[in-house]
């Protein structure tokens, strides 16, 4: 029997498979396809202090081995989440994380204060890396000083596990990781989407209403694996890896590069039951390779 459990800096996961914010709704959307209780956890849709309508349609363009999105954090706000959605999902026996975003530091702080009170939410994923909002979002995650500042302020009010989601749209992601670690982040997750663009050559129009958007899917995977490896070497807090994971082999790749757990994102659109296959596939890999505990594989790269 392979032990898939992870102690993710105090956050106890039954297995290393979580789902990525923005690709999994509030979990309920997938309840016809999978048993949510079998997940290591799921991370709900990016939530902001106040409701947001998001960007105009079109918000999505298919690209080679991936897709661009420009949803722009459409959500009904923290209060709505607490009063309407949370009561519907809190019974799930898995880790439910809220992805929290904001356009100014006080938004993050107030949101985190409210979420801190929700018993069934053991952690938040601080989104300082959304490329699809005009103000805030990625702006916080692209300099060490601003990343450190927002984490410091949120840390002062949030008492549970604080995961910080990092942007790949930076010169040196390891430096950003170190700066949020120094301000008390419990873990980092990476990568958020890569800023991209696509054009319809017939109409000469950008395919997204916002012109640019976030690229996800297998197309970004090598970039994500590289960044996970760089961050793993730079910080002591654990890393949650994501970016184009489609199957168990991809998940193992991230784990070997330094991730303690992983998130499945865009793959949920291709196969709504893919997370179950990934969990089973990780077990199978460990069994075949005589790995007793999945945690032993983190960062276990065999160097040339």
């Amino acid at each position: 029997m392979v032990d898939l459990s992870i102690n993710f800096n105090g956050l106890m996961l039954r297995n290393p498979v979580l789902t990525a914010s923005g690709t999994f709704g509030y979990g309920e959307e997938f309840a016809d396809f999978i048993d949510l209780n079998l997940l290591g956890g799921f991370i709900v849709k990016g939530t902001t202090l106040l409701p947001r309508e998001g960007n105009n349609y079109p918000r999505m363009a298919e690209t080679p081995m991936g897709m661009l999105n420009a949803v722009g954090l459409q959500n009904k706000g923290v209060e709505y989440f607490c009063s309407v959605i949370y009561p519907r999902i809190k019974h799930f026996n898995t880790n439910i994380l809220v992805n929290l975003s904001g356009s100014q530091i006080s938004d993050y702080v107030q949101g985190a204060e409210i979420l801190n009170e929700l018993e069934a939410i053991p952690a938040i994923e601080l989104n300082i890396s959304c490329p699809n909002v005009k103000e805030g979002g990625m702006a916080f995650g692209t300099s060490c000083a601003s990343a450190a500042h927002v984490v410091k302020e949120v840390r002062s009010v949030y008492r549970k596990h604080l995961m910080v989601k990092l942007s790949p749209n930076v010169t040196d992601i390891a430096e950003i990781a170190k700066s949020v670690e120094a301000e008390g982040a419990d873990s980092v997750s990476l990568i958020n989407t890569l800023l991209g663009m696509a054009v319809d050559v017939n109409t000469r129009k950008p395919k997204l209403s916002t012109i640019t958007g976030g690229l996800s899917g297998p197309a970004v995977k090598p970039v994500a694996v590289r960044m996970v490896w760089q961050v793993y070497k730079a910080v002591k807090i654990p890393v949650c890896g994501l970016g184009g994971i489609m199957n168990a082999s991809d998940a193992i790749e991230f784990i070997l590069a330094g991730a303690s757990c992983i998130q499945v994102g865009t793959a949920n659109f291709i196969d709504p039951a893919v997370t179950m296959k990934i969990i089973d596939g990780i077990s199978e890999y460990c069994y075949k390779n005589n790995v007793n505990k999945i945690s032993e594989l983190t960062g276990a790269l065999a160097m040339n």
């Binding site: 709704g25 349609y57 918000r59 949803v71 291709i270």
Partner: protein
Amino acid sequence: MRKLESMRKYIHDLIVYKNIALNDEYFILELTHPEPLPDIFPAQFAEVSVPDKHGVFLRRPISIHDVDYDSNIVKLLIQIVGDGTKKLSQISTGSTLNLVYPLGNSFSMPSKPNLLLVGGGCGMAPLLYTARYFTSFGFSIKVLIGARTKENILLRDEYRKHAELLTCTEDGTHGTKGYVTDHPVLSEPEGIDVIYACGPTPMMKAIAKYAEKNNIECEVSLENVMACGIGACLCCVQKTIHGNKTVCNDGPVFNIKEIVW
């Protein structure tokens, strides 16, 4: 009008029973499954996984064209518009096709007897099952189909089994010459209680305008670009008076009173 119940969604490997080319542009996939098909309502759709996926990343949302519960067959009428639908057109009999379905809401149960279904181009696809379904409840149904030319007024006899078929073509080769909004049936609004439409946005806008002017209940089924198909990613949204709503899960059917065009 009463909304039909939304049911459980499934991921099924369906077997291709027939792949019928109707012309260079349209084909029908008849799919079957060892288990009984789930309950499917008019205007619901499937997210179809394209086999031999090279160059095609996402599933393709395809509306349900018809369901034959006696022979346990679900039919998709598909227009070839890009690489994904091209690959689907080449699928061979006996192979499997993975579907996530049935998705989305459906046209409502009408509260009055005389129903006009309007379809433009590939928007005719969901109207066969819509006609079959509502005929079984005793509604009097006219189906108005508009296309560029006669060759794309497809499956006329099939539609005639469940409804009175009215047609128009842009080049005048079948039915009335012009767009669906030029059809004489619309000059007698007193004979129409409810309109359900599916097709290009300009057509649906024009039909919505007509329905509004004549105080006729009207719903449209939208075809926005989608990723997940199950209301999770919020990519396919339509502006409504209640804010942005997902076409895949809150729709594809919207009452025209709700839509902000």
